[in-house]
Symmetry: C2
Subunit: 291 residues, 2 copies
Amino acid sequence: MLIIDKLIEKSKKLRAPVCVGLDPTVDLLPDHIISANGGNVPAAFLEFNINIIDAVYDIVPAVKPQIAFYEQYGAEGFEVYTKTVAYAKSRGLIVIADVKRGDIGSTATAYAEGRLAADGADFATVNPYLGKDSLKPFIDVCKRDNKGIFVLVATSNPGGADLQKLELVNGLKLYEHVGNMVSEIGGDLMGNYGYSSVCAVVGATKPEEAINLRRQLPSVFFLIPGYGAQGGTAADVAVCFDAQGAGGIVNSSRGIIGAWKKTDKPEDYAQAARAAAVAMVKDLREYIGGL
Amino acid sequence: MLIIDKLIEKSKKLRAPVCVGLDPTVDLLPDHIISANGGNVPAAFLEFNINIIDAVYDIVPAVKPQIAFYEQYGAEGFEVYTKTVAYAKSRGLIVIADVKRGDIGSTATAYAEGRLAADGADFATVNPYLGKDSLKPFIDVCKRDNKGIFVLVATSNPGGADLQKLELVNGLKLYEHVGNMVSEIGGDLMGNYGYSSVCAVVGATKPEEAINLRRQLPSVFFLIPGYGAQGGTAADVAVCFDAQGAGGIVNSSRGIIGAWKKTDKPEDYAQAARAAAVAMVKDLREYIGGL
């Protein structure tokens, strides 16, 4: 079964098209974890991640570690990143490697072999600026090892408009053109639910764009950041889904892993994360039909 | 002195606007190095890099390790990457971290802190697809720590055209628009030679585009890939330079570190690399005026 079908079936079974972003920072970690690890931040990240994963693995289908937060600590952080991927996989979670790599030829192959094949992640996020031939090495690994990619199409930051919303002479905006490109190259990896393993990142802060993209790209599955801490609501993200409740997965990072900060019990951070994930799932179920 | 001025002065002093790409692969390494390291590929990469650096540090101003080839080997590869950066710095070389990162907010900050500040590299390559606010965290670190960035503008791969050469309704092509954006955000980091530490990657395979970009962006310094193994000639790249021989640096990776493959002495790979670098410098001097 193609990885996109696994993701869709797991989301349907749990009635939870939700991804938990594992984006640890010193600020998002309770002090006691850092102290317990002798001030070793990467080691504290791993303990934190393991407990977050244990708290949510049975209610959400996927996690998305953002590699930047690990890489910041050099090789030691990188190792914690790969251990986080492996631990999430061992708990049956689908792992989306948020790496946003983009390069050409043998360089792109090295990224795909490293972040998908070697790490064992199921999906990776990739950047389209270098064009179709920069995506091909990723797609080759996807075909060989049953993986998927999420290509950046429209992002939720204000500066996303600087390039993505530029109008082209063919009448499209750049992000719409990129969306078409993603749709076009995904044909060989089409799953049983009408979606390809070649997917798109579509930010949640501009619902009218999401509505149009959903119509324009019926076979492209969306990873939707921006829910919660970044301002997107369940109503905003619901437009990315089809009538069967498929078509996308909504990510929340700080809103879940940092939920303990709104309590007076930092030691119960994992329970707070689970409660926040449960609340998010409940919220989405009210707006997304067919789940 | 701003890092861009250091790079320009070092290039002028050596009469060699040349960067050696440290892009090791198993195929580019003589077998005996891998054997001598007991088959440990990352360890072999480090030995290879140290010897290449020792062979070229006095004739070129800069090296550019491509992190993908190291990352492919996980944390151990990542450590060899950071050790390569540190060793190159210890030999007085300017280091361009070819990481092509691009993300937003705290994620972009984590990349900038990691790959520029923590590693000690002087420049990093970055991807513009997420817009100006994705570049700002890098520029903040550049200002604080006297670093620079090379923003992808026009790349030399065929697929570069898929996005970069799209025509916008304002009459520009996308890469020209991105070039203007790079020029605009570089104003605070302007050096004594009229170039900013906020620079651009401009591929060498389409000289007419390079000629136009050079005119359009007089204060933007270019990193020029594509020389040698990728098909760019000295005449092609010369158009990126000003009358004083400044304005850009030309990268060669395989053409230098893989030069030993055209000899029958793999054990003399470092000397072959030096000879290839000398030949490249000589070639460029014939076409670039003012050096």
